[in-house]
């Protein structure tokens, strides 16, 4: 049986027919991406700080961790985490957990380097000024360094969130019915790959396009929270002035 490309008739109604499958897949994709990204963002901070440690041993360990985790092909990593661990230990691994762990570990390595770039962009005079007024190291970090670095970090974080949404399609291989796998299953029932994969593609693009304005919103909020403080201060000053 041969297949002649010119014979293919598009039948887009198949997308409508499988709309709930695609929706379910989209929701799982978002869930996997959101959970992994959140965990990676948390885990990346100590990793970045270790990487920047003056103690050679600690920064060396972090450097190796980052180098190795960035180098591992994600698909192989996921297969090993799910099937490999079961083969070696005999323990049944939860597919969602395995997928999230792999995405988290790999993305924490990317994000750690982004955090490091952001933190190192802050002039060391900032830390010195904070320490010179008696702030502790950790308070100087929390109140002076991090708020400035955070603004630098937000845009590349958004790029990575988009990346993690797309990379989450790889966890379909361990049986998680995320968007890409839902499209594949629908295709295996309907034999309509182009329509269904095009629909999946459009959904991925829409998700990515939603992230950018969300990131700008977070960026603006980071700035606005400060001006709110200021407005509040101004108001209090006025009322104090009126009282005096």
């Amino acid at each position: 049986m041969s297949w002649n490309p010119t014979d293919y008739q598009f039948a887009w109604n198949v997308v409508w027919q499988y709309r709930f499958w695609l929706l379910e897949g989209t929701l799982l994709t978002l869930k996997i991406a959101a959970v992994s990204m959140t965990l990676a963002m948390i885990f990346a901070l100590p990793l970045a700080l270790l990487r920047m440690s003056r103690l050679r041993f600690l920064s060396g360990v972090a450097m190796i961790y980052i180098a190795v985790l960035r180098a591992i092909p994600l698909l192989v990593f996921i297969l090993w985490m799910y099937f490999g661990v079961t083969l070696v230990t005999g323990l049944q691994v939860d597919a969602f957990g395995a997928g999230v762990i792999c995405l988290t570990l790999q993305y924490s390595a990317w994000l750690a380097e982004i955090y490091r770039a952001g933190l190192q962009a802050i002039d060391k005079g900032q830390r010195e000024a904070a320490l010179s007024t008696g702030l502790s190291q950790s308070r100087a970090f929390a109140k002076v360094i991090w708020p400035q670095a955070w603004r630098i970090i937000i845009p590349p974080l958004a790029s990575n969130f988009i990346g993690i949404i797309k990379d989450s399609s790889l966890v379909g291989v361990i049986g998680l019915n995320e968007l890409m796998r839902q499209a594949q299953i629908a295709d295996s029932l309907s034999f309509r790959p182009f329509e269904l994969f095009t629909a999946a593609m459009v959904i991925y693009i829409v998700l990515a396009l939603i992230i950018s304005p969300l990131a700008s919103l977070v960026e603006r909020r980071a700035a606005r929270s400060l001006s709110v403080q200021t407005r509040r201060a101004t108001r209090t000053r006025r009322s104090l002035g009126a009282a005096a």
């Binding site: 900032q126 000024a129 007024t133 702030l135 502790s136 708020p147 400060l226 104090l240």
Partner: protein
């Protein structure tokens, strides 16, 4: 610019006991010996001016006084308590260091204001965080400090919205609000346009008149002459000469003479 620095009204008489004492301090960066055995005592109410050629170790010397720079050897004593070498346990170490620094104000060459905070919050940060003042008390204190440097009407401005001279005055207010027992100035006017230097020096001179203990690293020899009780010439990591204002007109050392001829 009215009001007075009430917190420093007492202790104006020079000749009181030593406030800050650095003894036989050494510091090297890599293979370069930056400070080669310097001893310097600052008494209450005294205005010490440190001058000398670039790379001579002036800033490093100043930064040792609040241990932003840790000496390789020597001792640092503040109000009779030894802070270096550290006497305290490892657990207590950071707290003791914070305690020292919260009593010593520092003003930097490049201002180092926090760009994400407005002038008011630049000043309140350590008041609420280190002094544990309430937000309201901190705000009042910060307002008073900013008023003293003539910037009460610029409190809600961010550093980027202020001129260099205004930024440096906010930095002075930030240090001042902590009620420090001594103020360290690290070339406070070197990064300023010439026409802005006056406003910063003006604030510093008034501080000096109010009796604040000050250690100033500067190239402003006019300021040194007007304010300095003791002038210290630092070159090649040692105090080459020190004394009263007379060393500016009749330097005893050739190095001092050569430097003064170059800058005056």
């Amino acid at each position: 610019m009215d009001g007075s620095f009430t917190s420093v009204s007492a202790d104006t008489q020079a000749g009181a006991g030593p406030l800050l004492e650095l003894k036989e301090a050494h510091k090297s960066f890599g293979h370069v010996d930056v400070i080669k055995g310097v001893s310097l005592t600052v008494r209450k109410g005294e205005h010490v001016v440190i001058f000398g050629p670039s790379g001579g170790g002036k800033s490093t010397l100043l930064r040792m006084m609040n241990l932003l720079e840790t000496p390789d050897s020597g001792t640092l004593t503040f109000e009779g308590k030894q802070y270096f070498p550290r006497m305290d346990s490892v657990l207590n170490r950071h707290r003791v260091l914070q305690q020292l620094r919260s009593q010593i104000g520092m003003v930097f060459q490049r201002f180092n204001l926090y760009p994400h905070l407005d002038a008011l919050h630049n000043v309140t940060l350590s008041l609420t965080d280190v002094k544990r003042m309430s937000r309201k008390a901190a705000r009042l204190k910060a307002e008073a400090s900013l008023a003293e440097v003539g910037l009460k009407d610029r409190m809600d401005h961010y550093p980027s919205q202020l001129s260099g001279g205004q930024q440096q005055r906010v930095a002075i207010a930030r240090a001042l609000a902590m009620d420090p027992k001594v103020m360290l100035f690290d070339e406070p006017t070197s990064a300023l346009d010439p026409e802005l230097i006056g406003e910063v020096l003006g604030v510093m001179e008034r501080l000096a008149r109010e009796g604040m203990t000050m250690v100033v690293v500067t190239h402003e020899m006019g300021f040194a002459r007007r304010v300095g009780d003791r002038l210290v010439f630092v070159s090649e990591g040692v105090i080459a000469e020190s004394g009263g204002k007379e060393i500016l007109s009749t330097p005893g050392e050739d190095r001092t003479k050569a430097f003064l001829e170059a800058v005056l």
